[in-house]
């Protein structure tokens, strides 16, 4: 734990650049290591993953560059390189590495990246949908019935074969639906990035920003719902 308290405003800033070195108490100017005593510095718990990787909050990013940065930071923080150091430095190395690994895992995957950005910009996206999206309501209810029937059916029977064919078709439809949602998300990602690049502080820009975030949230939540249904379906017919 950093032991500091932060208000919401300085959340966005690189905490380390402003704090003191835990070891020599000098004003910190270096990025992850104290300029004066070269000790590794704890990454602030409030540092967001984009900042950690030195990236702007955009949804399109170059995976090669992300990986290169991950490797560079791993070489800086990994506990393997702190075996001969003090206990305090070993603890910092362990915590920083764990944080770095989480950050990389989150940013590497486009969906997790978007969910994380949404969380930063507008609060958690994790409220799990329990009812089907409106445009899929009928289909999903029917699918649930078919699944129930299939589960209780004799797998060798002719009826089961018919149900299986139907379920296969449903799976194809849902997977297509998932791909459509991912395409929609891609468009929203591009719109988000373009808006951020323009950096306008106008009322229409703020409204556009709110719309994009809301649409992203809806599609992400629908996509998760459909994905769970598909997984359930696959597990049942496997």
């Amino acid at each position: 734990m950093s032991g500091h308290t932060h208000n919401a405003d300085d959340r966005r800033e690189l905490q380390m650049a402003r704090s003191m070195c835990w070891h020599c108490q000098s004003e910190m100017a270096g990025e992850y290591f104290c300029d004066r005593c070269v000790k590794v510095q704890p990454v602030s718990k409030d540092l967001d993953y984009f900042t950690c990787f030195g990236l702007p909050r955009r949804l399109a990013l170059d995976p090669q560059a992300l990986e290169a940065k991950f490797y560079e930071l791993s070489r800086a923080f990994h506990p393997d390189f702190y075996q001969n150091k003090s206990d305090a430095e070993q603890t910092i190395s362990l915590d920083n590495s764990a944080m770095l690994n989480t950050a990389y895992r989150t940013l590497r995957d486009p969906i997790q990246r978007a969910e994380y950005l949404l969380d930063l910009e507008a609060g958690s996206v994790k409220d799990i949908r329990t009812t089907p999206p409106a445009d899929l309501f009928e289909e999903i209810l029917e699918l649930q019935d078919t699944l129930d029937e299939f589960r209780t059916s004799d797998r060798a029977s002719e009826n089961a074969a018919v149900l299986r064919t139907k379920l296969d078709a449903d799976r194809a439809t849902l997977e297509q639906r998932q791909r459509d949602m991912e395409a929609e998300l891609q468009q929203l990602f591009s719109r988000w990035d373009a808006l951020q690049d323009r950096g306008e502080a106008t009322e229409p820009a703020r409204a556009e920003r709110g719309r994009i975030l809301k649409d992203m949230r809806d599609i992400l939540s629908n996509r998760t719902y459909v994905k769970n249904i598909v997984n359930d379906l696959l597990a049942t017919i496997a």
Binding site: M1, Y71, D80, F81, Q83, N84, N101
Partner: protein, 606 residues
């Protein structure tokens, strides 16, 4: 910083290696092979480890422990199915298996510690310095309890275990160092008792594990058992003999099965042969490679499922793998090579000695930790998902399998009843939906100040360190106080137990040193007896009868001393022989020179 060695603590064989100016090398004792059989025997002359212990597998089966790695971090219930195959007696105390050896019982970490000590002694003798730090390898698919048990074994052996690393990733370090490979590799590691598959990306000195999978109960032992079962069934029908009541013969069958399997890696057919008890003579049987393949195919197929899962988890197709590396003695089987080649669609690499490459990689990792190698870095993953039991007995995952380690997750806990002072937390590892189907790692009770329900907020951090071992910390968010907690492992030794075992091991250290001196003295005495007898046969005619009698007397004194327990007495009798046989040695040398130098005397040529 003192030297750190790398140790491969294997199911059937163990090795120790060190880094020699940038090149990893295995350490072998004088005139011996580097591999130490992972066998411990309690003989009338004390504890023996390695090759001398292996001789007792058939002579002293109830008191000779092999494949102890299968029991690391396990409860008796976990291994119920295979108990019948082991001639030694297993019991359980506090969720930990105990192995009965004579009067005493030992936990698997204690037995493993005996093997580690032997390796430590070898390294110390070879390097001429005291060794107190080691990197020890474990199967990648080992769970937290099994890793912890391995760490305990190191501590009991007097070693500070600086890192537990996964066998296939260790192998990749040795392979990558030698081959300077870049790209995606699959390491297929089929050892004596365990199977692992790891998929790695190698780039500019970073070894990033993408996914790992495996089976901690599948290896060479299982192939041997298939062959042994066949022999046993045939012996029963042909001779009406049930060898399962003869532990010594059971071991002989198992060892002959292993030898037969090994021969069939090079030959297309071979003949197994066994002495039978009760004057029933000898059982011989021809076995072809095709027959072995038929016995093995189901086991080999069992390795392919984990391979496919690892590919899936890393988001790759078989064609994306640039190189396949084979590790572990069992990958010498032609059937294994064929099936692996068929799955990945490319010829696997087996240039590195599959028995040694894991220990070599451990030495590389040891060198990284001591700051010697700075350009290589291994980023490994946790093989199994970690979670906690939630309402309704369901497991809630906190850290998913194949997450890069170190990895951490936080979870907030509160109370449901006013004044509640504790929250029970049950930590699990595994991929199944229900808590009861997963591995229970530990239970602990979080202390909570008595407050109205829902008010306390305790944040628990689950941290998997670079060893793949779990650490738990709790913090009261209201007071900011951190809480230390007693985590009781579900299947493992408590800290106090480990400490007691370390003390015990010091107590027995004196006995161990003596036992080791005795073993060495006996080996040397055996060699001297053989050469002296040969000299008497070859050159007895060259010296006086009195001299021959003196040598014979000294010989029989040594034979008597060799059966005793005093290494110093053995050494003294050996010196006697050397003294008594001096004349004979000179006469024989003279004689051989005479043959070569046309009758010149030693004094003429020197």
């Amino acid at each position: 910083m003192s030297r750190i060695v790398g140790i491969d603590l294997g199911t059937t064989n163990s090795l120790v290696a060190y880094m020699d100016h940038g090149t990893p090398r295995v350490i072998s004792a004088q005139n011996e092979r580097a591999m130490v059989p992972s066998v411990v025997s309690l003989t009338d002359n004390g504890l023996m480890v390695g090759d001398p212990a292996k001789e007792h597998l058939t002579r002293n089966p109830e008191r000779t422990v092999y494949s102890v790695k299968r029991f690391m971090g396990k409860s008796l219930a976990d291994v119920q199915g295979e108990l019948a195959y082991f001639p030694y007696t297993l019991t359980e105390k506090g969720g930990v298996i105990r192995i009965q050896l004579g009067e005493k019982s030992y936990s698997p970490p204690q037995i493993s510690a005996m093997i580690l000590k032997e390796l430590k002694l070898r390294a110390e003798a070879f390097l001429g310095e005291s060794i107190t730090k080691a990197v020890i390898t474990v199967p990648a698919y080992f769970n937290d309890s099994q890793r912890q048990a391995t760490k305990d074994a190191g501590m009991i052996a007097g070693l500070e275990v600086l890192r537990i690393i996964n066998e296939p990733t260790a192998a990749s370090l040795a392979y990558g160092l030698q081959k300077k490979t870049q790209g995606t590799i699959a390491v297929y590691d089929l050892g004596g008792g365990t199977f692992d598959i790891s998929i790695l990306k190698l780039k500019n000195g970073i070894f990033e594990v993408l996914a790992t999978n495996g089976d901690t109960h599948l290896g060479g032992d299982d192939f041997d058992q298939q062959i042994a079962d066949l022999f046993l069934a045939e012996i029963r029908t042909q001779y009406g003999l049930d060898l399962s009541t003869h532990p010594d013969n059971m071991q002989a069958v198992r060892l002959e099965a292993e030898r037969t399997k090994i021969r069939l890696s090079d030959e297309l057919k071979t003949t197994a042969s066994l002495d039978l008890p009760d004057g029933k003579g000898r059982f011989t049987r021809e076995l072809t490679r095709d027959q072995l393949d038929a016995l093995s195919i189901a086991l080999v197929e069992r390795t392919l499922g984990p391979c496919r899962l690892a590919l899936k988890d890393s988001g790759l197709a078989p064609g994306d793998i640039d190189e396949v590396v084979l590790v572990g003695g069992s990958t010498r089987m032609p059937l294994v090579r064929q099936r692996v080649q068929a799955l990945f669609g490319k010829q696997p690499h087996c240039e590195l000695n599959p028995d040694e490459v894991v220990a070599l990689g451990a030495a590389v990792q040891a060198d990284i930790l001591s700051g010697g190698t700075t350009d290589m870095l291994l980023l490994d993953v946790t093989p199994l998902s970690l979670g906690i039991e939630t309402m309704g007995g369901v497991m809630s995952s906190l850290i998913r399998r194949n997450t890069t380690i170190p990895a951490s997750a936080k979870e907030m806990f509160t109370t449901y009843v006013d004044g509640q002072t504790g929250v029970d937390i049950h930590i699990l590892q595994g991929e199944r939906e229900l808590a009861k189907d997963n591995r229970s790692l530990a239970r602990f009770r979080l202390k909570v100040p008595p407050l109205p329900a829902g008010v306390p907020r305790i944040e628990v951090t689950f941290l998997i360190d670079a060893n793949g071992i779990l650490n738990v910390m709790a913090k009261d968010m209201r007071t900011g106080e951190t809480q230390s907690m007693e985590v009781k492992p579900s299947y493992g030794l408590s800290d106090q137990e480990v400490e007691r075992m370390i003390e015990d091991s010091f107590k027995f250290a004196a006995d161990d040193v003596n036992a080791r001196k005795l073993i060495e003295a006996r080996l040397d005495a055996g060699a001297l007896i053989t050469t002296t007898e040969k000299s008497l046969a070859d050159g007895g005619h060259l010296v006086a009868t009195g001299e021959i009698e003196a040598i014979r007397a000294a010989l029989s004194a040594l034979v008597t001393a060799k059966d005793g327990n005093d290494p110093r007495a053995i050494r003294a009798r050996m010196a006697d022989i050397e003294q008594a046989a001096k004349g004979l040695t000179v006469a024989m040398l003279d004689d051989s020179l005479k043959q070569g130098l046309q009758g010149k005397k030693v004094s003429d040529v020197t």
